[in-house]
């Protein structure tokens, strides 16, 4: 198949591209960022997905499948810019998919969609509502783009739309939300709380995304890796020091004295678990993670030291 990947130069995008190439697909990509040593077989157009030149890529290449990875999660990016990229970008990309006859469109979202609160259940199924809008308001743009992407299922039923909600990734690239949290030597936690964390190796995540291509899948799917483990164990396995602090003290210390800076809503995500049930994705695609939790955290630890 001819596959187009937006956000191809990100670390997950590069790996997805390589998996697809190895399986005999034709791969092209769009990204503002460079990918200097990209395989020759991959054509990369350096353009913003919201610009007209991006539509030209669809017009000229007529991709049969699209994987949308061009979303931002960095809380450092200002809110308006995030809305522009995450919502505006998703809208533009899905409209191009419809206009230019893309058969399969994959939106890659995040499992934090479900939010974390004292009375939310473990192992969310795809039918659960996006509580993140109240528990973690800073994630509202990602929740909105997730729901907007899935509206393609009824707006353009001829296109097979897939929305993936992937758990945290971890690995030697040291990028991603969880990796930034675990990067500093001392990792702050909330005293008296130790939620389950679900994460997967970045290679497994890329493979899971690549697995969706060519199947004509439709709908929303949770994607997860090995068994979830408590945050305290994760910190220990990552070779970091767990610093449990009473909650009022913790919120005052974030971003200071070598502690990672976190938006306020993120505190809920280190107090309460946000874990997903990935049974539907596994049975639909046959996907199973190759890396267990020790190998996944180990690869991060090795690269971070």
């Amino acid at each position: 198949m001819r596959v187009l990947i937006t956000g191809i130069a990100g670390h997950i995008g590069r790996k997805v591209a390589q998996y697809l190439l190895a399986r005999g697909h034709t791969v092209a990509g769009i990204d503002r960022r460079p990918w200097p040593d990209a395989p020759k077989a991959i054509e990369i157009v350096a353009v913003d997905v919201r610009k007209r030149a991006a539509e030209e890529v669809f017009r000229r290449r007529r991709p049969e499948a699209l994987i949308h990875l061009a979303t931002v999660t960095h809380f450092q990016t200002d809110l308006e810019e995030r809305y522009r990229v995450n919502l505006g970008g998703t809208r533009a990309v899905f409209e191009h998919c419809h206009s230019w006859g893309v058969k399969e469109a994959v939106f890659v979202g995040r499992h934090t969609f479900y939010g974390a609160a004292p009375d939310t259940p473990l192992y969310h199924t795809e039918a659960d509502p996006p509580l993140a809008v109240s528990t973690f308001p800073e994630l509202a743009d990602l929740v909105a783009s997730d729901l907007f992407a899935s509206s393609a299922l009824w707006r353009w039923p001829e296109m097979s739309t897939v929305v993936l909600r992937t758990c945290y990734t971890l690995g030697p690239s040291l990028t991603g939300t969880l990796a930034s949290f675990l990067r500093p030597r001392r990792v702050p936690t909330v005293l008296g709380f130790d939620p389950l964390f679900q994460f997967m190796h970045e290679d497994d995540c890329a493979r899971a995304i690549a697995e969706t291509v060519g199947r004509g899948m439709r709908g929303t799917f949770n994607v997860a890796g090995p068994q979830a483990i408590p945050l305290s164990l994760l910190i220990k396995m990552a070779g970091r020091r767990n610093v449990p602090l009473p909650e009022p003290l913790l919120t005052g210390l974030l971003g200071r004295f070598g502690f990672a800076s976190l938006p306020r809503g993120a505190v809920n995500h280190i107090k309460y678990p946000c874990v997903v049930d990935d049974a539907v994705f596994r049975s639909t695609t046959g996907f199973a993670p190759e890396f267990d939790e020790a190998q996944t955290v180990g690869s991060f630890r090795w690269a971070a030291s």
Binding site: P118, D119, P121, L122, Y123, V190, L191, G192, F193, D194, P195, L196, Q227, A228, I229, P230, L233, P246, E247, K271, Y272, P273, E293, A294
Partner: protein
């Protein structure tokens, strides 16, 4: 004596038929290390402090999904804790019963951590389904917090049973094992509940005893398990039909409570 209990508990936790990973955690976050500490404390209360007597433990299925349904009493869930202890200490092979914790516990530091590490998840229907589908032993007190709030004079009564547990049992095809906890009212002779103070501390209420402190007294207790009930249906029946099934279970629990009172020489 004390170290014998520690070794015994550790061996029993090791024999639990639960899929723990290499670090000793299951998929719900239950930890073998925390279970051993928790059940050492419970085991002492169970064997030495309350001297709990158990009858009918053979009615609890050795494997596979099942729902223990009993009466609540005694200020806070002393009864629940003793039922947990009986499943681990007096069953062969030992089993871990999962209670449905009050929601406020998960919002409190330390309580949140410990309830999760010892398999006592927040009381949500989703958790009940997840545990039963994983073939666990679920412990349900359909009276809820209103059940533990019973005063001393109300100790032999049953307040309203919710319907949820019967629908869940039908939907997941789970047998219900009725149980009666005898002596909960004597352990915590509540004269009144302080609701305002409770609210201040993030709990539904604080029970007040004649000796003021909400500390349980070392009174002997008994747990009586009844034969499993396999209720007919799919869980999609109307409320009226479900209410009849709920009444059947409630009746059975009441009968077991009466049996316990009679054995104590009381007239029910």
């Amino acid at each position: 004596m004390a170290s014998a209990l520690v070794t015994d508990i550790k061996a029993r936790v090791d024999r639990l038929e639960i899929a723990f990973n290499r670090d000793g955690y299951d998929k719900f976050g239950t930890s073998k290390k925390h279970l051993a500490i928790f059940f050492t404390a419970l085991g002492w209360l169970y064997r030495s402090y309350f001297r709990v007597k158990v009858t009918g433990i053979e009615h609890v299925p050795k494997r596979g999904r099942a729902m223990l349904v009993g009466n609540h009493s005694g200020g806070y869930a002393v009864d629940g804790a003793m039922v947990l202890a009986s499943a681990l200490l007096d069953m062969e092979p030992p089993r871990l019963a999962h209670g449905m914790a009050e929601k406020f516990l998960n919002a409190m530091p330390v309580a949140s951590l410990w309830t999760n590490r010892v398999g006592q998840l927040t009381g949500l229907p989703e958790h009940a389904v997840q545990l039963l589908e994983d073939e666990r032993l679920l412990m349900v007190f359909p009276e809820g917090a209103r059940g533990t709030a019973k005063l001393y004079k109300e100790r032999w009564s049953l307040v309203g049973f919710g319907q949820g547990f019967v629908r869940l049992a039908l939907q997941t095809k789970t047998p219900i094992v009725p149980l009666a906890f005898i002596g909960g009212g004597d352990v915590m002779p509540t004269v009144m509940n302080l609701y305002k103070l409770g609210k201040l501390l993030g709990a539904p209420y604080i029970p007040l005893t004649p000796y003021l402190l909400p500390v349980p007294l070392p009174r002997p207790c008994e747990i009586i398990y009844g034969e499993p009930m396999r209720l007919p249906g799919t869980g999609n029946e109307d409320d009226e039909h479900i209410e009849k099934l709920v009444a059947q279970v409630k009746e059975r629990v009441h009968e077991l409570m009466d049996e316990g009172r009679r054995r104590r020489g009381e007239r029910p």
